[in-house]
Symmetry: C2
Subunit: 95 residues, 2 copies
């Protein structure tokens, strides 16, 4: 494999891994959205916060390791943050 090809492969792999982890959080948000009535589970928010922090550290590392661009990293997080904001908004209306 040539160097540019290898770099592309590694970057793509890194992005896929981050997307996988983002999807897990997305799934957590969806499940909670479907179960708004069970809002009094404080552990759920705790888990989401912890997962978001973990992912942000992974993304930050991938950027510093020059595997992904800062823009790509920000985009991944921004989408999740929007959905998380929607969830919290829905929880507040419900609560």
């Amino acid at each position: 494999m040539s160097s540019p090809d290898l770099m592309l492969t590694l970057s793509q792999k890194a992005l896929n891994l981050l997307q996988e982890d983002a999807n897990k959080i997305e799934k957590l948000i969806e499940v909670q959205m479907e179960n708004l009535t069970t809002r009094k589970c404080p552990l759920y928010e705790e888990v989401l916060d912890t997962q978001m922090y973990g992912l942000s550290r992974e993304i930050d590392f991938a950027i510093r390791a020059e595997l992904i661009s800062e823009a790509a990293g920000k985009q991944l997080l921004a989408k999740l943050e929007r959905n998380l904001a929607k969830l919290y908004e829905a929880l507040n209306i419900k609560g």
Copy 2:
């Protein structure tokens, strides 16, 4: 740069970044070790736990992205965990 060289460079860069983050935690442990009398700062343990979790996620990601070996990742964490255990032991004796 040839592919093997590029891979080596990226792996080395990844390891250096992780080592940097490990050093920051090491520093936090040292400072707390030198200030055992101020043990009643619960935030300190909280910060250390959060930082350890963040680093473990970075390391896990670097392993999955095939930038570092599992052994290298485990070694980084193990050393910190030993020092952290020493700190908690010292805190308990003091407390």
